[in-house]
């Protein structure tokens, strides 16, 4: 069965510090998709990034960067120079390619990030 582990339940950092959110996944599929979503206090999940299993290139988008390593089954998310607006719950998710079994998409339990002014 698929599984997504976000071991960090809650993290607090002071504004302008860098912070990395960990995501480790398990799947028996060779083709799969990984996502990160942000859920601010308002409650609406916001898509951040999607990666397919064949694309291990790291990605940078402004202050956000993602490190995908198949060898360690990890898809970690780093925020550089954090800001108070980054305070939210961040979810990592794993989706199977064919959507023909149970557990078609699995979300990790989320990491609650507090950015302290």
């Amino acid at each position: 069965a698929q599984k997504v582990t976000q071991a960090q339940t809650e993290i607090s950092v002071v504004e302008k510090e860098d912070v990395t959110l960990d995501c480790v996944y398990e799947t028996r599929d060779t083709t799969y998709y990984l996502f990160w979503y942000k859920q601010p206090p308002s409650g609406e999940l916001v898509f951040l990034i999607r990666r397919n299993s064949f694309d291990e290139q790291n990605e940078i988008s402004g202050r956000y960067s993602w490190n995908f390593q198949k060898s360690t089954s990890s898809f970690n998310f780093t925020i550089t120079a954090s800001q108070v607006v980054d305070s939210a719950v961040y979810f990592c998710a794993l989706s199977e390619a064919l959507w023909n079994r149970d557990d078609k998409i699995i979300f990790g339990k989320g990491t609650r990030l507090h950015i302290l002014p």
Binding site: Y33, E44, R50, W99, D102, K104
Partner: protein
């Protein structure tokens, strides 16, 4: 702006009294999803529609039903809500099942 809209934002119902939550989208996406999210937990997929094709998760209780009368609208019916059904219900859409999902603001359901 194209978006996913959920109504109502807050719904209070009584134990056992049927309730319907609605979702509409202006994105013209093929896929619509319903998730249940309990406090401090991950969203859990209940079911999804790929166009008119309904797909239920195996562990979704029979108490939960869904309708998609057209591309834009999708409804979640809870036939006999129990106290354990109190949660945030999230609607999402995507162009395809493996693509990114766009979420609505959610409906918080309270069961008295």
């Amino acid at each position: 702006d194209a978006m996913v809209i959920q109504n109502p934002r807050y719904q209070v119902t009584q134990f056992g009294k049927p309730v319907t939550l609605s979702c509409s989208q202006t994105l013209n996406h093929n896929v619509m999803y319903w998730y249940q999210q309990k406090s401090s937990q991950a969203p859990k997929l209940l079911f999804h529609y790929y166009d008119k094709d309904f797909n239920n998760e195996a562990d979704t209780p029979d108490n939960f039903q869904s309708r998609r009368p057209n591309t834009s609208f999708c409804f979640l019916d809870i036939r006999s809500p129990g106290l354990g059904d109190a949660a945030m219900y999230l609607c999402a859409t995507s162009t395809d099942r493996v693509n990114e999902q766009f979420f609505g603001p959610g409906t918080r359901l309270t069961v008295l």
